[in-house]
Symmetry: C2
Subunit: 225 residues, 2 copies
DNA sequence: ATTATCTATAGATCTATAGATAATGC
DNA sequence: ATTATCTATAGATCTATAGATAATGC
């Protein structure tokens, strides 16, 4: 203790230091919020995880809610942007005859890949989104950040299913997003239920199945009598 | 204020009084937990909603978590039992050739009917379950209360899809339950997204579509190359 | 000179317990 | 006599602010 020289990492500009600390705070908050939700986390919890004083969080953020919103916003543009690009690419490729499955592959696989390849931080963000998606606070943030990409998906689905009422398309999306959020949450329930056959973390197993599964669902709606 | 005679409802036996107070506490807690989650609700919030003193909650429950678990448990046997009966009835009817859609109708429609017909209290319980389903605490309670009925569903699905690997069946269930939880949560997101075409509260709209949608998904998994 | 971080602390709130009071039960 | 409810309160914790200190920036 007494003679620990304290690594004392060399810090460069203030801008860099600010960015580094902010990132650490957001990482810690992201993880904790993903596990315990907005109200299950105290600013002290976050500060302790980072190793700074609680009051520093107030220096960077007005209050707990603004920290929460910053966590949501930090990665939202990336996931939204990537999916938007993938959908536009698919739309261009498919021309006048997009398929439901094609659109869903672009939407779902792009996102699952991002979380899977992004490592722990992105997996935490995924769990964070899932955790808050069925809360009033979270749903409102989903509106703000994800409406454009979802409406883009819906527009392609409508082109793929010209005879299906818009209402059905939206309910189909409602099913899709529920399943996706359940995946991102990684509660471990499917692991236990399946006796170890499935693993919550296995986003590639989901990717292999989800778009086809959901596409068939949309087509079945279309065939309704 | 001064001359309010205070209706002072006539109370009968202590057992009745106990039951009545317990029910009021559980109703209040159920609603508040469904809106704000375990950590978003204080015992004071619950007590105020009931109109009793906070300490009375400690008379009936050891602590906040045991109140939470009591809320979960109170209606769990009913929803689980009804679905179990419906699945067994369907199994008997269908004999050696059950269908995926038949099993899903028994499982899903039975539950959606319960919430829809049960009024506000049951709708709150549904939202409560959805809200906690993707949290560690909630998922563990799901295991305890709902595993038997889910495994019964899975066993019928396996009979209906003898060539489909069990892993696929479990992933299919994972999709189903995600969609169901997203429905029960009633966040209002689908209302806003669809510009008012769909309504979160409209469980009958979901009932009309969900079993067929999901059944088609399961069949598509089966056809995988 | 400005920005990042920490110390000290106020004020509010929360959980939980001990013990008193009010109502029912034989 | 027992059970239901309330009063009073301890102890912990939480958010937020004011102001001091330490580090970078011209």
């Amino acid at each position: 203790m007494a003679e620990s020289p304290k690594p004392k990492r060399v810090r460069r500009t203030k801008a860099e230091q600010r960015a580094e600390t902010l990132e650490q705070i957001l990482d810690a908050a992201e993880y904790l919020f993903s596990q315990h939700g907005l109200h299950g986390v105290t600013l002290r919890d976050v500060a302790q995880r980072v190793g700074v004083h609680t009051t520093l969080l107030h220096y960077y953020f007005d209050d707990k809610r603004s920290l929460f919103e910053a966590v949501f916003a930090r990665r939202a543009a990336t996931t939204s942007g990537r999916r938007m690009e993938a959908l536009e690419r698919y739309e261009a490729e498919a021309g006048d005859h997009p398929t439901v499955e094609g659109a869903l592959h672009a939407f779902l696989d792009t996102d699952l890949d991002l979380y899977f390849q992004g490592g722990e931080a992105w997996m935490n963000y995924a769990a964070f989104c899932a955790r808050v998606s069925n809360t009033p606070e979270g749903a409102a943030l989903m509106d703000v950040h994800f409406d454009p990409v979802v409406l883009k998906l819906v527009s392609i689905l409508k082109k793929a299913l010209p005879k299906t009422p818009a209402e059905d398309i939206f309910w189909g999306y409602h099913f899709v997003t529920g399943s996706l959020m359940n995946t991102l949450a990684r509660t471990g329930r499917i692991d236990r239920l399946s006796g170890g056959l499935c693993h919550s973390d296995d986003f590639m197993a989901v990717k292999k199945r989800m778009a086809r599964f959901m596409a068939a669902g949309f087509l079945a709606l279309d065939l309704r009598g």
